[in-house]
Symmetry: C2
């Protein structure tokens, strides 16, 4: 597996070789559907990131092609997505004002940095770093991001501007401008929102009720948003509502993606490093999870480290062609998959479709009201909001609940970067805290068997001179001292004890801290005239212990099984007692 192979780094060589006519027609159909869906979405996410609308389309062209070459998922559709666009707005907003050239440069630089980090992580096989983002943290972060995004778009619906990157800031800003709400804009925004919700929930059942076949009802439902966008644009144009104060998209250049370069200004790069890392990791985690779910449906395989390279190439592509940070999107990938995309070539055809749109269709969106784009964003992101995660986490475990709650609270209250960072830090701390107080059971022999069970839960036989303890956790630095304290306290309080047996069946590893704690325990028990024994030590753990001097110093023995230990140290397992087979 570690032998170099070009196909490993260029998955296109893999599927490209066997590409056939059937694949081509499947991919073309999927590309048409995804292109239609992506046009309003790309514009909307550029708006969310605080960038000119055409950048949303640019960000969907080159990245899709590069991912098709380097990525391992057959169905993943790469481009701007809601959460990453929000993170882009938060990061870039800290270094430049929206609408300036510096803002655009910073967004392009952020994409380049994120791409470089993803590539580097892929080449160095550092994909495991994404593991630090636990599921509860990601779930909490996405829910909070959805709330932030929806709130930020309320400004466009009201015809004002929601300033700030946190929920209190935005609500305050909206509240302060309540007198300046533009009624026509509000009417358009509310109508679009209600219509889009209805398309999502009510249209398909209605069409099926009218007797349309499922497949056609499906296509019509998917085209609904495009229809809404077209109809509203026509109304705004026909009644000249722009003159009535409705904010419209305006002039969009008719052009293929321009060639751009990220900035290499050290001060800018430095201030974007942390946001770029967070965007990379969040984007990667989301993307891999979508890719893996879709791959499973066709019993295909994705390689996470190669996914890093694919996404890295896509982001570098975005930064070289006027785009901003991208990743694999959930909704578009599912649509792509459902529409029958067979290979990443579907993505390349989508890119062609979007390039045609960028050149030919941009005049048509001149009169598209921003409130309509805001409505498409709101309807899309509200499906991300899942406050039920709080209840599920509370039911399952308090530590997970606090990780979710803190992530949601900090993201809403202090912004996306603080939210992700505090979520990661808290989950690591909670994990260390939990494993630093392992479950320790005092065990005794279940009469008539060779089994040992917790003396507090079962009627078992024990010998007051022999203390048998089962530790249900690997031993490492965070719980080494706990064990020292626990055994010390337990033996000091219990005078008749002359042997302690540590039953190691649940100990998967012993690090050097724990080894030294065991040495200290052995020495201190020795000072009290008590011997220390081990039982049921796992193979790999025993191999390691043999490389240290611990076994030489051990005052007692290492027994293969706890039963052997008890037979050697007590009369409990005396053969004269009646014994049943297990």
């Amino acid at each position: 597996m570690t032998r170099f192979s070009l196909a490993r780094y260029l998955p296109i060589l893999d599927w490209g070789r066997s590409y056939g006519r059937a694949d081509l027609s499947n991919d073309m159909v999927a590309a048409v559907i995804v292109t239609i869906m992506l046009i309003p979405q790309s514009l909307a996410y550029a708006l969310l990131a605080g960038l000119p609308p055409e950048m949303g389309i640019y960000a969907s062209i080159m990245p899709i092609i590069l991912y098709a070459i380097f990525g391992t998922s057959r169905a993943l559709a790469v481009g701007p997505v809601a959460v990453v666009s929000l993170m882009t707005a938060a990061a870039v907003g800290q270094v430049a004002a929206s609408g300036t050239a510096g803002y655009i440069t910073a967004a392009i630089t952020l994409a380049g940095l994120s791409g470089a980090m993803l590539l580097l992580m892929g080449v160095l096989r550092l994909g495991f770093l994404a593991n630090f983002l636990s599921h509860p943290v990601i779930a909490g972060f996405i829910t909070a991001s959805g709330i932030l995004i929806a709130t930020s778009q309320l400004g466009h619906i009201f015809g004002v501007r929601a300033e700030g990157h946190t929920l209190p800031e935005m609500l305050w800003s909206l509240g302060a401008q309540i007198g300046q709400v533009k009624p026509v804009t509000l009417a358009i925004g509310v109508a679009a929102t209600v219509f889009l919700f209805w398309v999502r929930r009510g249209l398909k059942p209605l069409l099926l009720g009218l007797g349309l076949p499922l497949r056609i009802a499906d296509v019509i439902t998917k085209a609904g948003p495009v229809f809404a966008v077209a109809a509203i644009t026509a109304v705004v144009w026909g009644f000249d509502l722009a003159a009535a104060g409705v904010a419209i998209v305006g002039v969009v250049p008719q052009s293929l993606p321009p060639l751009t370069l990220p900035s290499f200004d050290p001060a800018l790069v430095q201030s974007l490093l942390l946001p770029a890392l967070l965007i990379s990791v969040v984007g990667f985690v989301e993307s891999v999870s979508v890719a893996q779910t879709l791959a499973a449906k066709k019993r295909q395989r994705i390689r996470p480290d190669q996914e890093l390279i694919g996404l890295g190439a896509a982001n570098i592509g975005a930064s070289l062609t006027g785009g901003f940070p991208v990743t694999g999107g959930f909704a578009r990938s599912v649509v792509n998959f459902d529409a029958g995309a067979a290979t990443p070539a579907a993505g390349a055809f989508t890119a062609v479709g979007l390039a045609i749109a960028a050149v030919a269709l941009t005049p048509l969106i001149h009169f598209l009201p921003k409130a309509t784009l805001a409505a498409t964003i709101i309807v899309a992101v509200l499906s991300l909001v899942d406050l039920g995660i709080l209840k599920r986490a509370w039911t399952y475990s308090q530590a997970d609940f606090w990780a979710v709650a803190v992530t949601i609270g900090v993201t809403l209250g202090l912004g996306v970067e603080a939210g992700v960072s505090s979520g990661v830090a808290l989950s690591v701390l909670l994990h260390l805290w939990k494993t630093s107080r392992p479950h320790v059971a005092e065990v005794g022999l279940v009469p008539g068997t060779q089994h040992f069970r917790n003396i507090n839960r079962h009627a078992v036989l024990t010998d007051p001179a022999v203390l048998s303890l089962r530790v249900d956790e690997s031993l490492y630095f965070a719980n080494a001292r706990f064990l020292e304290d626990y055994i010390h306290d337990r033996v000091v309080a219990d005078c008749p004890v002359r042997d302690v047996v540590l039953m190691c069946s649940a100990i998967n590893a012993i690090d050097m801290s724990a080894l030294e704690s065991l040495e200290a325990i052995n020495a201190r028990l020795g000072a009290m005239g008590v011997r220390l024994h081990l039982s049921e030590v796992k193979g790999p753990v025993m191999d390691r212990l043999k490389r240290s001097h611990f076994l030489d110093a051990l005052s007692g023995q290492v027994f293969l099984s706890q039963y052997d230990a008890i037979r050697a140290l007590t009369a409990l397992a005396d053969d004269s007692l009646p014994q049943a087979e297990e």
Copy 2:
């Protein structure tokens, strides 16, 4: 245990009640011996911290008394120690120049801050935070500190000043001043160092060889340093070597400890927060380990959380009486214990002895050369240097080796604070990395038994349609995705598989991330037409799974044992086959 009791927070009430005549005489003898040992040591550690010598004595008086009231160890002797004095010099040197009033104020403030943090950690029962300091990190840090301290004292021996807080800085500074070495100072320093080493290694065997009883040889050996200090001071005074350029301690005020207050200047407090935290944690870890080792010898108990309160009170006492950060010292505590100290009252008597010294004996040390104090420090700290830890760690585990090596390297190269911090960060990262790639064994049935073993190590029976996997690690966020990838890859590559059994005997916990990964694995396997089963799930893990919806969605079953699973899913355990009892 959680009921409030005054004796819990005032251990003096415990031992004070039964204090008797025998205790009194034991404690008095120990106090005399410890006092004699502490006088030169206290002066030397003040010098090491860059403070006036009398502050070393002040730092040994009130802290000892307060620890006697609040601490739980019967033998621990609290005061300035080498490593904490070095950390004090590094921290205070960043905010003020040595020799200024600001430097003294900063040291006093550092003691106050450290005391407040220790108290807070004790009251909130946060002692587990000290677990983050793994044994290899502590061992590496102390070794590197010993090297730094010895190097810094070389300046006093040479009669120059070793500037800087890192090894390269100090060596560079010493090298640059090589022409200014003062020969008389050097002669005194070298003579003192050689003599003190000889006292440590050669004196006791010599005295025993001369027929002296062990106990007397012991006392003479311990008094050796005091004798050396006295003799050299007399020589310097007699030959007026101070006029010849030998740096001496000079005028030391004859006074009881003064009343002082820490500074509440927010800027100063803020810049000392991190150093205070590191000093508190390092001091606590060292102190608890000494206290526990000594307590074990008399089958006594110490309570780590109450130790935090005892050390916190000691440091606050230090900051109110002209001292600097203190903790429980190893050498002095062992001497105290060996000299027969029965209760913390021995500490209080030591404090009285030191108070008498502060008032009456300070004129005697006027002519004490700093080179002699430096010699006592060098001889004391070289016993801390243990480069063998590198080899032992390498033999035992690479992760532990890197934790030690990085801690030593960073401490020497960048200073004590960076050294401790990077050691802690690295050990946490390495732990997460190790547990993020758990050992997964594919298992099969050992013929004629009900046991399951790794198919790569044993000749076992398997069914190509049933994949049995044993994961040797608790499942949590850092390895949740690993498991998803592992099972996905394994099943995709192996077409006949229709059942996957996860044998959970080594899984002590499943957090919410891992639960969602299991749900994803279940759903993705389902999409491939493969069922997921669990076997040998531990009680607490099962309790938790029952609180989620996972078991409802599970495509397969939960089996009590792996054998039950194999019996239900395959013909391997067919009763018609010959079966041996275990």
